[in-house]
Symmetry: C2
Subunit: 886 residues, 2 copies
């Protein structure tokens, strides 16, 4: 059977359907669907995306039988409309539009009134009884076709039009007479001939094929190619071409054109929301030359407009349109974005598609549609974009505010914040005490900056990526953060930063948008988040549908409270080292590091014990009834040491040792590759007294609060390490009546490969530390990859930054190996993830597919993860069903 | 059936055999074997190692039926000897000795003459007709038993003995009379009673069980435990106890005792080599109080000794012993180390075991025994320790020279070297110009030090491990190197190093031994290596039996020539970056790095092209007919940049740029974890012109010399990287008539996991870069692991440093995954290894087991690898045979 290249639609029946978007493009598929639904769609046909693909595969030639199929399609349209393409007395006019699977900038948009020439224009005049309308249509056609298909510069036509208005002393296009317009047409044709070296095509067939060819060619414009690369759209998808009989909203006052949403796209409220213009063509609404009027009385009142609504002006057509609205929503079971035209009192539907909406509207529509029984809970959940929830959780820039953007970095932690620029953590803390909003601005941050980051409203760095220290900590704290803004040069000595010619000094006001990465001068107004009932409803459904639990990575009481407020079902990662940085404690930590004997080390640790114990007790109390996983000390010891001369002296004075000695120890602790150095459980092996102290603090706190802690050992590479350290912990627990379990991070490839042995050694749970597992599996430092990651994304080596979205092929393969080996030994092995990926929807879907028990992420991502977990569970279930059915 | 705890031997038949070493220990098994062979072994029995294990498993109690089995064993001995244990007139005396699988310091050695007491001593006097002998035996017994079993301090007995000699005015032990000795015995018993609070045991049964218990207890002495830990001997092995009828070499001038080797253990020459003493007990030979005499006339002449040989003194017994020698060699088919005693003209064999020998002797004996048809080539190859070949390839310290050892580091590159201490590479090169021997001494080395390392006779570092830069490069160059000598403090500014109180200044002479890690003051004489014909013979057999090829890691013409001289069958890794460090080139390299545009970078690269091309051409010429694998640029660019202020200024001046700009670029290129940073193929992705230049140089050189190069891309993590870079290389080859292949290092876990995809992308070979694969799989920086690796080895987490011997469980698992996936796609996928492990015998065995095509190692390890590869192939074949048989 020969391929079908052309699909007809209209007059109550169609070759295509809404679910044939891949073949027909979004527009074509929905036109076909509407026609089948019995809605008034002007007849037409779609040239499929496969023609586009074939065109480029065969050196820009069409399939042999395309011509015939188009002719056939056109004949059907002629029959439906009762007019003939190119006929001098009763001419059929058509529109030609592109239509890819997803709407795409850079593609050819629309040519209207195609089929007009010096002869058919007279037929149109006779048929419509309006010579001015006919010549205006012809004028518009030449202008559009000349611009879009023939690529004659747009201004050539505008110049002629303007000159005519001047010459004839008229002000509006509408005031030009038929005679004026005829002259303009002549001038248009002359300019085309001059520019092209040949006359404007009079043959309607030539016009049609010219327009079809222009659509296909526009698939390969640089702008379209760039857009596809950015949005991961494969070239093979191609575009379709829609050819459709013209209807006219500009044939008189019983004509109109409009666009509408079936519900309010910014709030989600269930009322008809839209605009129309009397006696106008579609592009007039978009162009904004005339002010569009509201569809409904309700809408007009809301806007306080004097202009009459369609409900008042064309009550019958409006009623028809309301029926269409209900029909479409019932059929598509989603809010629709529609375009329509009224010609001589008759309604025509030109487009429908799912309407874009704000996050708040998305939530409301989803919840409402479940109440209206249009969709089920699972479908409501699947409709929502988890990432978009971020909009609801953080302050956002007032969309109306003026923005003076001076730099762009990575959108490292969502939310917008204004404040004065401060360059050191201490100063930030100091200045923030009286409530001053501060933007802590640094080349990069380190654990020593935590207090300043906490005090700041936002954090700006000039180095580092999406998972740099600044980014990770800011997300954890819910602070806005723009990271790696490389065009900014910070001179913290001089307390100044430079962006090109802009010089920003300490104390100057700036605004950062952590959702876009933008850095702006001055204060830009922000809008505070408010969580609606719809949000609570959706989260409730999400938890009911999710199989995996969602925990939070949190260690401070504040973080834990935020996490619980966002519905975290436990703590998946409490990083004990964050508790070491408090000014009163860091001295003891440093003394511990400087201890030359086990006794001296134990003495320093004994001073830390009460603080650790009370930290844990508070955390257990906040998370009462929920699991809490505590990771023992992880970072290399040098992270705790003073770095500046001043700090070194201060520490030496307090500890009563020589500052030279401090420097020497700093030298000894220096590492070439600290990520692969003396850290994690390696500290526990060489300094068992550190882990013993931490275990003791955990057990004491658990006894005090009745908690059943999960103790997690980091950076395990071998089962022997695990055995030695589990023994140490078990030893510490002896005599204490406490229930606990001991597990490990799986964050090194070797641990994943040896998961069976580690399970045999008594690990009760595995938590995938995918940050480090990504670093080691890919041999890629997350702190340093910023240098070449953009090249890697651009060249398609990684689809996305593997530190943001899990590399399922590589890292995921190791996770699967570990999960299978672990559960082969211990059926009830609890599996979780606590890397940054635990808050990324795509990564969460992978976690669901491999059967993890929970994901853990920063507190502010908990709602996103809950929704993503629910979606993953629903999709996984339906995939399983499909498999079973097959 | 009840367990057999006791195995009898002697009188021509035995319960045990030589291959029952695990059960009977080495000594017991060989005594049994000798008895079965019909050799004159005094009757006795062995208490098995299983008793030792049972003893410790059951809270230091013996198996219930042990007593009876020992009694039975003893009865057999009584019967064979015709004497009775504890009998007053005809007493049986026995020796009790420990006997583990391998001889082990810290274990109880020997108690002789057990069974003597105040009564049996008289029987012995009567039986031997020599009262003095009887009392001397009794005196020796109390002393040995008191020392070893009762733990009475040794000096208590010595004091009594000395006092008696003084009191009685005699000088030698032998001059003490029976009466003197009787008094000494009384004094010995008194001191035992005083120290123990109870009398010396008179009951022979109590004596026997005391001695057996002492052997088992000695299994758990701290010294024994330490030794086992160091030598990987499991505690469960346990020790056996040998109880054997006494024979006496000290009953008169027709008695003697001796030790011998069946061939010369230091040269391997095939003559009888040994010493004996007339009228002496075994320990007299060892103690060195009397000068032992040569066994043979030949030996006596060689040593220029006046003392008569056994051949002359006891020709009949000597002839018997010669027969024993031949019988043992024929039976064991190896050179034996034997102990014997002659009692009243009758020969008794007390021990045989494989004799320790020098590397040279080992080679000669192996080659000779093949010629003598005692063993086959495969057995000859298996006998040799590949590591020991190192002795033959490098200068070694004169064994007779005095050594003043002041520090110990890691034995990082074998060989010994003396020279003056120099602290910088430039200075080392300068001073070495006139032939001065230099020891380059640094905290650690970097690629910038290469010229100084090359000029030096030896390299000493105070930081870094077995695979630090210094160690790897030194092994590659065949320079002696002691690395990570942490007790040495180098102050290179002051040009001085301190070791405790020793101050060593620039220009002072020191000696290092890279085979032991020792650092010595002054010059210690060394012995030059000479490769014998036996060496060539063995290497020939090795190549004939090996399945894998052995290639070398080499880039300089010198290295390549050395490698070829040592029989390398190609180059497995040519590190092109080493070619960049020559003073004339480094400036261009740095200009290339500083280039801000592709054009400027290409310009700098064009200057490097001719040098690269001629390097490759020279290498191809040296390796004519053999495969050469060239790795494209691998290290991060900052390794090439100047670091000191002086160097920065010098470079800036030459390149005519501002030194501030240089510093800024240095800052930009700084990385937190350079091992995981912008290096390897990531450079090729971001700066394709670098790889294009290198590929061009390779192809031009190949055309010039007719070589068929293998081009290797480093640090591949994804198939897309490989595809992009292979395309680049193929593009560069276009129009050039050259045969080549493109492959990749497998040095990241992700590459191993995705090996199928990489194979599908056209990789012709995989070379396992196990240095980096170990670093990433274990998350372990080889530069930093020195800090805790000793703890890790001590606690049994790693049996050996995973950078020296492949972690087969973890890293090996990934290699297997990669090998299988790669060959599933491409059956003829060539697999090799080019990490440091390629020269380690244990790792080579693993490579054989997984079917690699070749191993590649530093030139000086090539012979070791050839032998190890042959052994691995032979063992693998026999393992397969066994499997098939089973």
């Amino acid at each position: 059977m020969a391929a079908q290249w052309v699909y007809s639609f209209g007059a109550g029946k169609s070759d295509g359907r809404a679910d044939m978007k891949n073949l027909l493009g979004g527009k074509g598929a929905n036109l076909a669907e509407m026609a089948t639904l019995g809605l008034p769609v002007p007849a037409g046909f779609t040239v499929t995306t496969e023609v586009c693909t074939a065109f480029y595969q065969n050196k820009n030639t069409y399939p042999a039988d395309l011509k015939d199929q188009v002719a056939e399609g056109l004949a059907k349209v002629e029959k439906a409309i009762g007019a003939k393409f190119g006929d001098a007395t009763n001419p059929l006019l058509v529109s030609v539009r592109s239509g890819a699977r997803a709407s795409m900038p850079g593609m050819m948009d629309t040519v209207l009134n195609l089929g007009l020439n010096d002869e058919t224009v007279r037929g149109l005049a006779a048929q419509s009884g309006d010579e001015r309308f006919a010549w205006d249509s012809y004028r518009r056609f030449i202008q559009m076709y000349g611009d879009v298909v023939l690529e004659v510069p747009h201004h050539e036509f505008e110049d002629i039009l303007e000159r005519s208005k001047l010459d004839n002393d008229v002000h509006q296009d509408n005031d030009l007479s038929a005679v004026h317009l005829r002259d303009i047409v002549a001038a248009y044709k002359a300019v085309v001939k001059k520019k092209m070296g040949k006359p404007f095509p009079m043959d309607p067939q030539e016009q049609l094929w010219g327009a079809i060819g222009a659509v296909f060619k526009s698939w390969m414009t640089p702008r379209a190619i760039t857009y596809r690369r950015i949005h991961d759209i494969p070239e093979e998808w191609g575009t379709a071409v829609n050819v459709q009989a013209m209807v006219f909203g500009n044939m008189g006052d019983d004509c109109a054109t409009g666009v509408a949403f079936t519900r309010d796209p910014s709030t989600g409220e269930n009322y008809f929301y839209g605009e129309y213009l009397v006696n106008a063509q579609g592009e007039d609404v978009v162009a904004g030359i005339r002010t569009p009027q509201s569809l409904t009385v309700n809408g007009r009142n809301k806007e306080g407009s004097d202009l009459p609504s369609m409900e008042e002006v064309m009550p019958d057509v409006f009623k028809q349109l309301c029926d269409v609205r209900l029909k479409l929503e019932k059929h598509y079971r989603d809010m629709q974005d529609i375009e329509f035209t009224v010609q001589s009192g008759k309604l025509y539907m030109l487009q429908t598609r799912a309407g874009k909406r704000t996050s708040a509207a998305a939530l409301k529509i989803a919840v409402d549609m479940v109440a209206e029984k249009l969709i089920g809970e699972d479908e409501a959940l699947l409709r929502l974009d988890p990432q978009a929830l971020d909009q609801l959780l953080h302050p956002t820039l007032d969309p109306g505010a003026h923005k003076h953007i001076v730099a762009k970095g990575l959108p490292a932690s969502p939310g917008a914040a204004s404040g004065i620029v401060i360059f050191t953590a201490d100063e930030a803390e100091e200045r923030a005490k009286d409530g001053t909003k501060v933007i802590l601005s640094r080349k990069e941050t380190s654990p020593e900056d935590i207090h300043g980051m906490h005090a700041a409203a936002g954090i700006l760095t000039t180095r580092g990526g999406m998972t740099s220290h600044a980014a990770v900590v800011a997300r954890g704290m819910g602070r806005a953060c723009v990271a790696g803004a490389g065009s900014i040069h910070i001179d913290s000595e001089q307390k100044v930063m430079r962006i090109g010619d802009h010089v920003i000094r300490e104390g100057d006001l700036i605004t950062i948008d952590g959702s876009t990465g933008e850095v702006m001068l001055g204060k830009v107004a922000t809008v505070k988040p408010q969580l609606s009932d719809d949000f609570a409803t959706i989260m409730g459904w999400a938890d009911a549908h999710a199989r995996m639990k969602v925990r939070a990575n949190a260690e401070t009481p504040l973080d834990a409270k935020v996490a619980r407020g966002f519905g975290a079902q436990g703590i998946g990662l409490c990083r004990t080292e964050h508790m070491f940085f408090e000014p009163t404690r860091i001295q003891h930590v440093r003394e511990m590091i400087f201890a030359r004997t086990v006794e001296a080390r134990k003495e320093a640790l004994d001073k830390l014990l009460p603080a650790q114990r009370s930290d844990f007790a508070e955390l257990f109390t906040i998370m009462k009834g929920l699991p809490v996983t505590i990771r023992l000390l992880d970072p290399p010891l040098h992270e705790f040491l003073p770095q500046s001369d001043e700090d070194i002296q201060a520490f030496a004075d307090l500890a009563k040792i020589d500052s030279e000695q401090v420097r020497r120890r700093l030298g000894e602790l220096h590492e070439q590759n600290p990520m692969l150095g003396h850290r994690g459980c390696r500290l526990g092996i060489t300094f068992p007294e550190i882990y013993a102290m931490q275990a003791r603090a955990i057990f004491d706190a658990a006894l005090e609060t009745g908690a059943t802690p999960e103790i997690m050992i980091p950076l395990i590479a071998t089962d022997v390490e695990f055995t030695i350290l589990k023994n140490l912990i078990d030893e510490t627990a002896k005599g204490k009546n406490v229930i606990y379990s001991v597990g490990t991070m799986i964050e090194l490839p070797r641990a994943a490969l040896m998961a069976d042995k580690i399970a045999e050694s008594g690990a009760a749970f595995f938590s995938f530390g995918t940050n480090d597992l990504t670093q080691t599996t890919l041999g890629l430092s997350r702190d340093d990859s910023g240098m070449f990651m953009p090249d890697y994304i651009r060249q398609g080596i990684f689809a996305r930054d593997p530190f943001a979205t899990l590399d399922t092929e590589g890292v995921g393969q190791l996770m699967q190996i570990a999960g299978q080996k672990g559960r082969a030994v211990r059926k009830d092995m609890k599996l979780g993830i606590c890397g940054e990926h635990g808050g990324d929807p795509a990564s969460i879907a992978f976690c669901e597919s491999m059967g993890l028990d929970y994901v853990s992420c920063s507190p502010y991502r908990v709602p996103i993860a809950r929704l993503a977990a629910a979606q993953a569970a629903i999709r996984e279930k339906s995939a399983v069903k499909k498999k079973v059915a097959a």
